[in-house]
């Protein structure tokens, strides 16, 4: 028997609102299935389950806002007999902290202590906090693709949540209701949020986003003794190779310069594994997988850093496809919990805006952040010759508890080496 708890989707998350269940009691679930949608201060996230089993009981109702660690549902492992309600409650009460799925344990331990407090119920009626339109990520994506205004759609999910089916029906809602002759009453169904309230939610979102970033970054600067290293890198070889490759391709398949940079970071981390992992419980916990959290600025303000999983094992084409998918979902909804909890290091690229050097703030409990500035044409001396080259300043912000400058320097050196041999990327 396992408790499925409100996950900590990063150091900046204290609580979340359950928006939608995608399963019901009795359903069989497989590891990595998306079974719920949770709204954080930053985004609506699809939550995955971490083991195979059968849903025994859904504990928290859609619309409820609960602290991280609160039991959302009980999942019975395969082969296990159904337990009595009495037994069911015990695991969470005894341990002082709710049991945690193994894979997000590292992050969860580092996050605010998970208290098994009674769930804080938030009415689903549009109050100041609940005023954001409740919709599943997939529904948001569909609506964005079709140019539909979510506030104008009827939500038929629990608590008036707009589901994908509602969006599909947004054009012709009557299709959803066979037997309903008149389309008008369906269309006129009260939307979860009146259009007039469209402005305040955006403000709430920004306030929530700022709060979330404030919590994580204040903790980072309070707890992490940062050190910073920078290296100017001649990118001519990597860019020449990329340009030649892109020239052969239709626009759709072109690769952005940041992609080989990400791959080079992943490979260089393989040579400096002390920078890839978490600082938890006063010690460094290295991670085998190299999952690169990529900072994505959101148009409405703020940022989110979902992970490119196993970046070291992917080809440039695969990484480009993964990045495209991640940026698109970060901006329109539909990120998954694993993408927000499994980053082992972060990459921030601010080159688009002309910034030359990034001085990063580490995202706890990670121990390193790699920053890229703008690729600029610069005078470059090599072998006694002066030339003009595209030059990139790469920086490393690292946690001095986990590594020393020497290790950081080895990482930047390895990064540079990979970028001089782009055929290895």
């Amino acid at each position: 028997m396992a408790d499925f708890c409100m996950p900590s989707l990063g150091a900046d998350m204290q609580e979340g609102t359950l928006v939608e269940w995608l399963v019901k009691a009795g359903d069989e679930v497989k590891r990595r299935d998306v079974i719920a949608v949770v709204e954080t201060d930053k985004a609506a996230i699809e939550i995955e389950v971490y083991e195979d089993g059968v849903v025994e009981e859904l504990v928290v109702e859609p619309g409820q806002k609960v602290p991280v660690g609160t039991v959302l549902a009980v999942i019975r492992s395969e082969g296990e007999a159904a337990a009595s309600p009495q037994q069911r409650r015990e695991p969470a009460a005894g341990t002082g902290g709710a049991p945690v799925p193994a894979e997000s344990a590292a992050i969860k331990v580092a996050a605010a202590p998970a208290k098994p407090e009674p769930a804080v119920s938030v009415p689903s009626a549009p109050g100041p906090a609940a005023a954001r339109i409740k919709a599943s990520p997939y529904a948001r994506r569909l609506a964005a693709e079709r140019g539909l205004d979510l506030s104008q759609l009827p939500g038929t999910g629990p608590g008036g949540v707009i589901r994908a089916a509602d969006v599909a029906g947004g054009v012709a809602p009557q299709v959803l209701r066979p037997g309903t002759e008149q389309a008008a009453p369906v269309v006129a169904e009260p939307a979860p949020v009146p259009p007039a309230a469209a402005a305040p939610p955006a403000k709430d979102f920004q306030a929530g986003m700022r709060r979330a970033i404030a919590a994580a970054m204040a903790r980072s600067n309070r707890e992490i003794p940062h050190y910073y290293l920078g290296l100017r890198i001649d990118l001519s070889r990597t860019l020449r190779r990329l340009e030649a490759e892109n020239l052969k391709r239709p626009i759709r398949e072109r690769i952005l310069p940041v992609v080989p940079l990400i791959k080079a970071v992943a490979l260089a981390l393989g040579e400096a594994p002390e920078l890839n992992g978490y600082w938890v419980d006063d010690r460094f916990q290295p991670q085998e997988a190299i999952n690169i959290g990529f900072a994505i600025a959101l148009r409405q303000g703020g940022l989110i850093t979902p992970a490119l999983l196993n970046a070291d094992l992917q080809s440039l084409d695969e990484l480009m496809a993964a990045l495209r998918d991640l940026i698109t979902r970060a901006r329109s909804g539909g990120l998954r919990s694993s993408e927000l909890t499994e980053a082992t290091v972060t990459v921030t690229s601010l080159g688009d805006l002309g910034v030359e050097t990034v001085y990063g703030v580490i995202y706890p409990p990670q121990v390193a952040l790699v920053g890229f500035g703008r690729i600029m044409e610069q005078p470059w001396a090599e072998n006694g010759m002066l030339a003009v080259r595209p030059v990139l300043t790469a920086t490393l912000a690292a946690d001095h508890r986990a590594t020393d400058g020497h290790r950081g320097a080895q990482f930047l050196d390895a990064l540079n080496r990979y970028l001089q041999e782009p055929e290895k990327l």
Binding site: I251, L256, R299, L323
Partner: protein
């Protein structure tokens, strides 16, 4: 296609990429990336859509010449069928 029609296609694409901004307020000589806060990922999507809508495949080497609405319309007008 007239310049005005091309301009309309470009603005429609920009509206989809930067829904929070108001591309119609864009001056002909404003730097589009700066004014609408478009990053390199958005820019790539912009060129992909241009290709889909107008059949003009802009080579990477030309990106550097296309900063403003006026420049883009002029560039496309010379190439669109």
């Amino acid at each position: 296609m007239t310049d005005e029609q091309i301009r309309e296609v470009v603005l429609t694409i920009l509206r989809r990429i930067a829904p929070e901004s108001d591309p119609a307020a864009l001056g002909p000589d404003d730097n589009i990336r700066r004014t609408l806060d478009i990053d390199s990922f958005d820019a790539l999507n912009f060129f992909i859509r241009l290709d889909e809508e107008l059949g003009v495949s802009v080579p990477e080497a030309d990106y550097g010449r296309l900063h403003t609405l006026a420049e883009i319309v002029r560039y496309l007008a010379a190439r669109v069928q």
